[in-house]
């Protein structure tokens, strides 16, 4: 099994909260990696903590070996703060990094502000391997981002408390789950609207209209009495899940797998409606002067071998079809599933952001 640090928030979702943004900023600007005395180099941002550490250890050295381009890695938060940094640096004509790992919501937000450099697919033959769902484009169809890593949020449960593995997201609504669930606290990171739509309304199309979303929310409101913890902090839920305090909920498939491998009574199940598939993309800052090398990097990262390496070493799901990789069944199962995933309606989360967050807060707070 891949070695991983536990207790560290994988995607640094908490970075903005736990340390306060000052700490997050220090992480961004305070300690740039040591640059090797090589002529060709790239500054690459990765989610601080576990991701960056794994990339530094297993992935970036491979890239340097293959291309001779040195990598200076920068820890970045997943949240808004990083985008604000890029945006403000861009106004000053600078780029804090050449390439960053950007979540889907932020990709679109950045695209709206024209922050990303347009990429040329012709210079990156391997990008053709990447599944279309993980390709980001500007409104005019030009390429602005390529899937970097992808992961699943699944239905997790404590094997001591819940003997039989659940098979469907519908499990969340069952009366016997009263005060047993831990769910992510925010509309934009729990993706529970997508889950509810897929489970109870036959698909995500109902999320096209406000009336439809309201219907989904009403259905979701029925879950409230089952929820013991609405969490923002991954570690808090993970601990409660392991101990059986909160025996069921939604959580990251890969981390749950690691906990199980460590002997904790935890299982992660891909429900028949599919796991929630979220991803981060590589995007090049529009102000970067190293666009050629950036293309080289993204091309390198899109190779099936490298995606397989990521699955093995970092625990992410490949952005290329499984068939192109040499992952064994067991390796693939530890990071992904053949069941068709629920891909969040990022467009909805973006376009109706304020309305959604207001309704959502009212839904769970009241």
């Amino acid at each position: 099994m891949v070695e991983m640090k536990k207790g560290i928030s994988r995607r640094s979702v908490l970075a903005g909260i736990a340390g306060g943004s000052a700490v997050a900023m220090a992480g961004i600007t305070g300690f740039p990696g040591i640059l090797k005395a090589q002529e060709k180099s790239l500054k690459i941002g990765a989610y601080g903590g576990y991701f960056k550490d794994s990339f530094d250890k297993h992935i970036f050295p491979e890239f340097t070996k293959a291309t001779g381009i040195a990598v200076e890695s920068v820890a970045q938060p997943t949240g808004e703060a990083w985008l604000v940094q890029i945006e403000q640096a861009a106004r000053a004509g600078k780029a804090p990094t050449d390439i960053s790992m950007i979540s889907q919501g932020m990709m679109q937000r950045g695209a709206a502000a024209n922050l990303w450099a347009k990429l040329d697919a012709a210079k990156m033959p391997n990008v053709a391997n990447v599944m279309p769902a993980y390709i980001n484009k500007y409104a005019d169809g030009s390429l602005c981002g390529v899937g970097a890593v992808t992961w699943y949020i699944t239905l997790v449960s404590n094997t001591d408390v819940i003997k039989e593995a659940p098979t469907s997201w519908a499990e969340l609504w069952k009366p016997e789950r009263a005060e047993q669930l831990g769910l992510l606290a925010l509309v934009s990171n729990s993706f529970l609207l997508d889950v509810t739509a897929k489970t109870h309304f036959g698909g995500q199309d109902i999320l096209d209209t406000e009336e439809g979303i309201s219907q989904v929310m009403d259905k979701l409101a029925e879950v409230k009495k089952n929820v013991q913890l609405w969490y923002r902090d991954e570690a808090q839920f993970e601990q409660a899940l392991k101990s059986g305090e909160i025996p069921m909920g939604q959580y990251y498939h890969d981390v749950a797998g690691l906990a199980a491998a460590d002997g904790h009574p935890v299982r992660s199940t891909f429900p028949k409606e599919g796991g929630i598939n979220d991803s981060g993309s590589w995007a090049v800052s529009g102000k970067s002067e190293k666009i050629e090398m950036a293309h080289e990097f993204i091309d390198f990262m899109s190779q099936p071998e490298i995606q397989a390496l990521l699955s093995r070493k970092v625990g992410t799901s490949p952005t290329v079809p499984r068939a192109k990789t040499d992952l064994t069944d067991a390796e693939f199962a530890s990071v992904s599933s053949e069941i068709e995933p629920i891909i969040p309606r990022y467009d909805m989360y973006l376009q109706r952001a304020d309305w959604l967050s207001q309704k959502w807060t009212e839904l769970i707070v009241s």
Partner: protein, 283 residues
Amino acid sequence: MKIKPGKFSDYAAIGFPAGMLTVFFVIPFGIMIAMSFFQRVQGAFYEPAFVFENYARFLSTFFAGILGFSVGLAALVAVVSVLLAFPFTYILTRMARQTQVVWLVFLLSVLSLSEVLIGFGWSTLLSRTAGITNLLVSLGIMDKPMSLSPSFGAVMTGMVYQTFPYTVLVLYPALSRLDPSLVEAARTLGSGPARSFLNVVVPALRNSIVSTLIMVFVFALGCYLLPQLLGKPSHWTLSVLITDQAIYQSNMPFAAAMAVFLVLVSLSLVAISLLYGKKENAG
């Protein structure tokens, strides 16, 4: 020619604190106020503008309820904290010097714990699987362990735990300066120890108590992690929602508007209690 002596150094002396105040309070607060009138651009960032919609959105019964809860929670935390810390500090100041130092170092170390650590600690202590109820069960006081968190009681416990050392340290100077002969005088005049504490020590330090209450109140009002870690969503404070808006919804203008409102509400509450205190002193 005569030079006015001390003129320049006088200005220099007030210049430093004035500068610090400007840099660390006036400017950030000014930026926040300006930001609160900016136009939010959904799906992107915000644009400089002068619009009231951020405030308009806040003026709803929903947010009024949250604000009321936040203020009430902070007030309750302040009252409970002072109720516990005042007698504690009084007893502490009457202990041997060395004992006091040990306690103060201990309290300082509690104060150095981060909110995250306190939240996690208490959520474990109050959990069904590893919490104190297990102890009560083994002592035969309870039938089976139960989960005490998340709940309002858990939020209160965590927040009071966090503010208690702070409260003690704020009260300590006033209580250790308190003339011990005041209590002795009360005793010679016929007051037992408890009574002289209540009708001499407490009223003699009324002003310290009020200012401590205000400080703890403001401190508790800014607390946004413990309500998340130890409370149900209905116990989330306005600070939690401000954080959500700023960090997760990237709605800086709305977050700023809520923050400005929170600052104004707490300032006016502080002003009211100070005015009331003044009146009481005069009367």
